[in-house]
């Protein structure tokens, strides 16, 4: 009996606290998505508005407005023109008639009566406003009473004329009531030129009075008065998408004639649908708990991508999002059921809607939600369709085909991000701003449409819109041709937005502001210079196709014969770069179909400025490939040496030139300098014969190199020259020598030998607890250098090369980024590999976009990434294997945390960059045991990237990109100007200038003596290769000599100005032996300090210490002496 309860307890124990927590954790799935949910909740908290304080006074203002409107005296019907002029005379208010205004002789009559209904609608009542949205509007709908409307008013803009008159009358009354309390102006509802509305902006000083300062949460809000039609007044059956409701000049009343006025019709339906939708959204909100928050999330997502309800913002805003979500909660699923369950949480709803948008493109296929199945497919040509059949409204009626495509694309990108469990899902989805054109599009063009001849159309979105639509169709046909291969992934048209205008003026909707065109490339297809059209065959079908093709392309199309005797219509383009090709095609085709754009000032293109700064050419790829081929030859030559005692296992390139990543493409046989060999490492098959001593291994390597050198020379005596070079090594255990192999044809390679025993010995030394600390430290550094050189770099080289083929824009982007680092004199502090990986990161995790498809977007996004990157707490993780497990990522993050704990001041580890091949994270950010860059320099990089990103965003399209590359020299305390002439002369040295020549050639003191006479005069003419770039060497010496007091900055190889900053930590201090840097006795005489003796070396017995200052002039004079003729001038700030 005793044992039974114990057993039972074990079996059915109640869930305790831990278990509950576990269940809740398990129910939310994997850790990553849980993080997303938590972050989203946090976001919702931080953007939520406190309506009571934020929109204080809104209710009072609404009441006053309502009372004012109700007090308006009704009047009987008057002819419209007469009524309008009367109003204008009496109240000095223009009636905001839509374009075209009613004719002078119009016999339409207008009357006024009290609105049949007032109601506040929109996000004010649904409480879905967020802090960060642009303008906060409180919408009040007033419904026009039925008695002043007629059923036939849906025809010929009659309703809209009446509506405009009604609005003007209301405006007059409201203005009288509010007086100076508020600013009144007209604007268009969602940019729809048919629907003017009244905006009331409270005058803040008046309204808030003296308490303004202590009301922080108060927002700048506006009240908008929206006149609308009574629900169901106009017969919906007459307003279907295909109806033609504007028949100006035509006297027949049959609805069959004329073009369908889809936009006009949908606007009319929308005018009468305010209340049905208000009700509908209320219901959804009541039914589904997560609905409101899902709407807020949706609003943020759209807002960060530049979408809004306004026509110029794509016509898909918060309202459309909410309606679509509500519709999906109600129906749209299979078998008529609801697509989404109302028990889903807000983030789940958000993800579901993203999913829906990513599989539905309204511009390509009509999307009908709700009962009934109207056939709308035929109208997709004219407008994207998202049809709510219960209310018979096309919700997407304000969208253009381009904005539907863009929305679809953004949803696709976001979905792929949300499907990626390892990436940071939150920030790209909600935080990053993704609508900056220069970040999103590869080519941006501004089309001046002033000279376009007026086209008559039945569209009421204005002239600009019509042109935009035409341009879009033309470009789409030209650039997104599936037969020939799509050149563009996305074409976007940005019509100008309409603003508010004052009560006494005409609307500016008729003006012809330029339109912006954005194009996203498919980089491989866009680089195509020959387009192959349909083949010119004998069949009628083929003939028609060719005819069609020629009609579109005009004279550009010509017949050409291709392989296998096919004859095709062909387009030949002259440009060479993807950008140039796109511009050429655009200019041609827009010119052909719209008769504009050929002139430079009519079509201005942006996006090419960056590549031209570096003069990046497509031919560069050929040069890189040539270097690669030369390396292939070199490898074959080495492998062909049969006399080597060990078999060659691998020869791997390790330099940027051989991975398409050097700023300048490799060129051979330049006469300006001695050969600058491309670095490689060679490894042999495993052997037990290496001596068991590091120094002996290094000597053996020299012997190996000598053997390879002499064998190469015997095998190809006329083609190859070799030199053994000594490294600038400090210790016998370092690598001591390399072999430079120079081909007569130009290419030169530098070979270093890999020995696997070396690694084992070094590892043993590192682990040897008995060894002295400094020896272990040295071994650690050597081991890091060894691994970097012989295992990490070859892998890196291989990986970057693969990526270059995978992403055509990677190579030029990397080169631009390196140029930027150079321009700001940062590159001395960064490894080449770091810059490459930082660039690659933008390609591997491009969210919220897709991988960059042009150098400009790649460059700008890399800068953006650098400015965002919080390297203090975040590792940069590159998923180079494509499937890095989550555990690996966690391990990397933990490693960074550990580093930060050991070294909180970041003296040894600053940036942390891990890849799948190199998870230790420090291979590319430390060099010889020192952090590269140091914390100071890393912070400088971040701040420079930040200001560059800000500049790009603020200046917009008109930015002169050269400004990004101008270094601010005034930040440096001293500038060391190198003498370009001396620098140039140093690039060439000869081994065979005899000692006595030294005196003879006094005019050329650089030709130094040599004691070797074994080379004949002819070979002596070949300059020696450069062991290291002399300017780099010079700088290296300076930084070793002045590691304490000065930090030096320098860009690339041809940068002739070295910037230097005094280390701010080096101030007046107590004198002792071995201070870092040169010091002078302090001017203020010695002061006794109580704790002066703390860092003495015991040399000073008095316990008091004299103070010294850094001897700046002394140090600079020293630098001048070290540099001698190399330093032209030392410029001191403030001097």
């Amino acid at each position: 009996m005793d044992s039974a309860p114990a057993k039972r307890r074990k079996l059915d124990h109640a869930p305790d606290g831990a278990e509950l927590a576990l269940e809740s954790a398990a129910s939310t799935g994997v850790s990553r998505s849980r993080a997303f949910v938590l972050e989203a909740e946090e976001l919702l908290d931080s953007v939520r508005l406190d309506y009571a304080t934020a929109l204080e006074g809104a209710d009072g203002l609404l009441h006053r407005t309502k009372n004012a409107i109700e007090a308006i005296k009704p009047h009987d019907a008057l002819p419209i023109v007469q009524a309008a002029s009367k109003l204008e005379k009496r109240h000095k208010i223009k009636v905001p008639f839509p374009n075209p205004p009613p004719p002078e002789n119009s016999n339409y009559k207008v009357a006024f009566a009290k609105p049949s209904q007032f109601n506040v609608v929109g996000s004010y009542v649904s409480k879905t406003m967020v802090k960060t949205q642009k303008g906060h509007g409180v919408d009040m709908v007033i419904v026009l009473p039925e008695e002043i409307l007629q059923e036939k008013d849906y025809l010929d803009l009659r309703y809209f004329y009446k509506r405009a008159y009604y609005l003007a009358t209301v405006t007059a009354a409201v203005r009288k009531e509010l007086g100076g309390d508020a600013q009144l102006s007209y604007e268009h509802l969602n940019g729809n030129p048919l629907c003017p509305i009244l905006a009331i902006q409270p005058t803040s000083t008046e309204a808030e009075g003296t308490t303004k300062t202590d009301k922080k949460g108060v927002l700048d809000f506006r009240i908008r008065i929206l006149p609308s039609a009574p629900d169901g007044f106009f017969p919906k059956s007459k307003l279907h998408l295909g109806a033609s409701l504007v028949r100006k000049g035509a006297d027949d009343d049959s609805t069959a004639t004329g073009e369908p006025t889809t936009f006009y019709n949908s606007t009319l339906v929308a005018e009468g649908a305010f209340f049905p939708y208000l009700k509908f959204l209320r219901q959804a909100e009541k039914k589904c708990g997560g609905f409101r928050n899902a709407c807020i999330l949706g609003r943020l997502w759209l807002q960060q991508r530049g979408f809004g309800g306004d026509i110029s913002q794509g016509g898909f805003g918060h309202f459309e999002w909410a309606v679509l979500l509500a519709l999906l909660l109600q129906g749209g699923g299979s078998k008529g059921g609801a697509a989404l369950s109302s028990s889903l949480s807000s983030t789940q709803l958000f993800k579901a809607l993203i999913q829906f948008l990513s599989v539905t493109n309204f511009a390509e296929k009509s999307c009908v939600l709700g009962a009934g199945n109207p056939d709308l497919e035929s109208y997709v040509e004219s407008t994207p369709i998202l049809y709510d059949s219960a209310r018979q409204l096309n919700i997407a009626f304000k969208m253009g085909p381009w904005s539907a495509a863009l929305l679809h694309q953004h949803a696709k990108w976001t979905r792929s991000l949300l499907a990626n469990p390892t990436a940071d899902q939150f920030s790209p989805t909600f935080i990053f701003k993704a609508d900056v054109p220069s970040l999103s599009f590869d080519l941006i063009a501004k089309l001046d449409i002033d000279s376009v001849s007026t086209t008559t159309g039945a569209d009421y979105r204005g002239f600009t819109w019509q042109v935009g639509q035409k341009v879009y169709r033309t470009l789409r046909r030209a650039l997104v041709d599936e037969e020939m291969g799509q050149r563009a992934r996305l074409i976007h048209i940005q019509p100008p937005s309409s603003g508010t205008w004052s009560l006494t003026e005409e609307s500016d909707a008729g003006t012809r502001a330029p339109i912006e065109i954005g194009i996203l490339f498919d980089p491989t297809n866009m680089a195509r210079t020959v387009d192959r059209g349909p083949s010119a065959g004998p069949s009628a079908e083929e003939k028609a196709e060719c005819e069609e093709f020629r009609r579109f392309w005009g004279d550009k199309s010509e017949l050409r014969r291709f392989e296998r005797d096919t004859i095709r219509e062909t387009l030949i383009w002259a440009s060479t770069t993807p950008f140039g090709l796109c511009e050429e095609i655009m200019r041609y085709i827009i010119g052909r179909h719209l008769r504009i754009g050929q002139l430079d000032d009519e079509l201005t293109v942006y996006g090419d400025a960056l590549p031209s700064i570096l003069a990046l050419k497509p031919a560069d790829t050929t040069l890189f490939n040539a270097a690669k081929n030369a390396f292939g030859t070199f490898e074959r030559d080495i492998r062909g040496l049969e006399e080597l005692p060990l078999r060659v296992r691998q020869i791997a390139p390790i330099c940027p030139e051989l991975r398409h990543a050097s700023i300048k493409p490799p060129t051979f046989g330049s006469s300006k300098s001695g050969p600058q060999p491309l670095e490689c490492v060679i490894s042999f098959e495993a052997s037990g014969k290496w001596p068991e001593s590091l120094a002996a291994i290094q000597r053996t390597k020299i012997a190996f190199l000598q053997m390879i050198g002499s064998l190469l020379k015997t095998n190809k005596p006329d083609e190859i020259k070799t030199h053994i070079g000594l490294e600038d090594a400090q210790h016998e255990t370092e690598n001591l020598a390399f072999l430079d192999v120079i081909y007569e044809t130009g290419p030169a390679f530098r070979l270093r030998v890999h020995s696997d025993l070396e690694e084992i010995l070094l590892e043993r030394q590192v682990k040897d607890k008995a060894a002295e600390q400094y020896l272990r430290q040295r071994a650690t550094t050597l081991l890091a250098t060894f691994r970097r050189l012989y295992s990490n770099l070859p892998l890196h080289n291989q990986y970057i090369t693969t990526c270059t083929t995978r992403f055509p824009a990677l190579s030029p982007t990397t080169r631009l980024i390196k140029h930027w680092f150079n321009a700001h004199k940062l590159s001395y502090h960064f490894t080449q590999e770091f810059m490459e990986l930082a660039t690659l990161h933008v390609f591997l995790s491009p969210h919220p976009w897709d991988a960059p498809t042009s150098p400009s977007t790649g460059f700008i996004r890399t800068l953006l990434f650098l400015s965002h990157w919080d390297w203090r707490s975040e590792p940069l993780v590159l998923d180079t294997s494509g499937e890095m497990p989550n555990s690996e990522r966690t391990a990397i993050a933990t490693r960074l945390e550990a580093w930060r704990k050991i070294d909180p001041n970041m003296n040894h580890t600053v940036l942390f960059v891990a890849t799948a091949q190199e998870p230790s994270g420090t291979a590319w950010t430390t060099l010889n045991g020192q952090a590269k860059p140091s914390k100071v320099v890393a912070a400088r990089m971040s701040s420079l990237a930040k200001s560059a990103s800000r500049l790009i965003r603020d200046a917009g399209l008109e930015l002169d990109y050269r400004r990004l590359f101008v270094p601010s020299l005034k930040d440096y305390d001293a500038l060391i100007h190198l003498n370009p002439k001396a620098l140039k002369s140093m690039l060439k040295t000869y081994s065979t200038i005899h000692p006595e020549d030294d005196d003879n050639e006094e005019n050329d003191p650089n030709r130094r003596a040599t004691k070797f006479k074994n080379l004949d005069v002819h070979t002596g003419l070949d300059p020696l290769p450069l062991a290291q770039h002399p300017a780099d060497l010079f700088l290296e010496h300076l930084s070793t000599a002045y590691s304490g007091p000065l930090v030096f900055f320098r860009g690339g190889a041809d940068d002739t100005t070295i910037g230097a900053i005094w280390n701010p930590q080096v101030q007046r201090r107590a004198f002792r032996i071995n201070l870092l840097g040169s010091y002078k006795p302090a001017a203020g005489k010695q002061r006794n300090r109580v704790k002066g003796g703390e860092d003495e070396d015991g040399d000073d017995q008095e316990g008091e210490s004299e103070l010294v200052d850094i001897n700046k002039e002394g140090i600079l004079a020293e630098i001048a002496r070290i540099g001698a003729d190399l330093v032209e001038k030392i410029e001191v700030k403030g001097a």
């Binding site: 931080s46 701003k433 000594l726 071995n1074 002394g1114 004079a1117």
Partner: protein, 326 residues
């Protein structure tokens, strides 16, 4: 500077006047701090040497010779040792290629038993000569010193030390500071120039001719082979000889040659594979293992859940994270 103190701590301050250069046309003054040399480990020459700190980066012996000549006249200056050179002398291992090259156990053995066989001067000189031959040629015509580093100057006799210190005190009165220029005018050795010539020469010296290099490498391997041989012999001797307490030192290498590294690695791999296999067979074999695994997984899930919360908490501290960019 209006007036420079003549001493700081127990150092005398010796200001050096630096002639202006076209690149930096200012007349600068460098401060050298001088005192009697009193190292922690006294040497025979301490009495007639001076300790200098904050020597200029481009110092050479000739530079210092010129300065001291100006102070006390010619013939008093014997030589100078700079900090970097002294360090090398102190830790021989870094400088002598062979010592760095010797296998660790050989080095230890030699150290332990080297004392017994007192080398004559001749042998030591021979050894130094051999090592010199094995050394690679230097690639620099002259080194740079670290800024703020030290040097020891050896003078002719103790009296000169006094004189120098007196002369330093006098410069403060007369304000005639010795000029820093390496005595290019006076007859000293010609100092190799710095600047582009220096760098160019370095580049040329980086490519020594192959004969020199070959000779150095050959000398090294001979030396290395011989040292290894010696070490092996000592080891062999020790293997058989009990020391005074009757113990035999255990040394590496027995009668049979050690197994080759590859074989050893192979054997290790095999053993690991075997272990792995055994382990795999026994996982999820018992029910308790399954239960425990499940428990572990749950704990892991909980832990991650907690981690997320903590991370969020940390981000909340930073706050800015949650506001969408405008």
């Amino acid at each position: 500077m209006p007036s420079t103190p003549s001493t700081i701590g127990d150092f005398a301050i010796l200001p050096l006047s630096i002639p202006p250069l076209p690149a930096f046309p200012q007349h600068a003054i460098h401060y050298l701090y001088v005192r009697r040399n009193a190292p922690k480990m006294p040497t025979a020459t301490d009495a007639r040497s001076l300790f200098l700190t904050n020597v200029p980066v481009d110092s050479t012996e000739s530079h210092l010779r010129a300065v001291f000549t100006t102070l006390v006249g010619a013939g008093r200056f014997e030589g100078a040792t700079f900090e970097d050179e002294r360090k090398d002398a102190y830790s021989q291992g870094a400088q002598s290629p062979i010592d760095a090259a010797q296998p660790a156990h050989a080095a230890k053995l030699l150290q332990a038993h080297g004392k017994k066989r007192k080398r004559e001067d001749e042998a030591a000189a021979e050894r130094a000569r051999e090592e010199e031959a094995a050394r690679l040629p230097s690639t620099w015509t002259r080194p740079l010193r670290r800024s703020g580093s030290t040097a020891v100057v050896l003078l002719a006799d103790e009296k000169s030390v006094e004189q120098v210190l007196k002369a330093i005190a006098k410069t403060h009165k007369t304000k005639k500071y010795p000029a820093w220029g390496g005595g290019s005018g006076s007859g000293g050795l010609k100092i190799p120039p710095l600047g582009s010539v220096w760098l160019k020469t370095h580049n040329r010296l980086s490519y020594p001719d192959s004969a020199t290099l070959q000779a150095s490498v050959d000398a090294f391997s001979t030396l290395f082979a011989r040292r290894e041989q010696e070490a092996a012999e000592i080891a062999k001797r020790l293997r058989n000889e009990p020391d005074e307490d009757g113990f035999v030192t255990v040394t590496r290498g027995g009668r049979s040659a050690p197994a080759s590294r590859n074989e050893a690695e192979e054997a290790k791999r095999k053993m690991l594979a075997k272990q792995e296999k055994k382990k795999e067979e026994l996982t999820n074999f018992y029910r308790f293992q399954l239960r425990e695994r499940k428990k572990e997984e749950q704990a892991e899930l909980l832990r991650r859940f907690d981690d997320d919360r903590k991370k969020l908490e940390a981000m909340r501290v930073k706050r800015g994270k949650f506001v969408p960019e405008a």
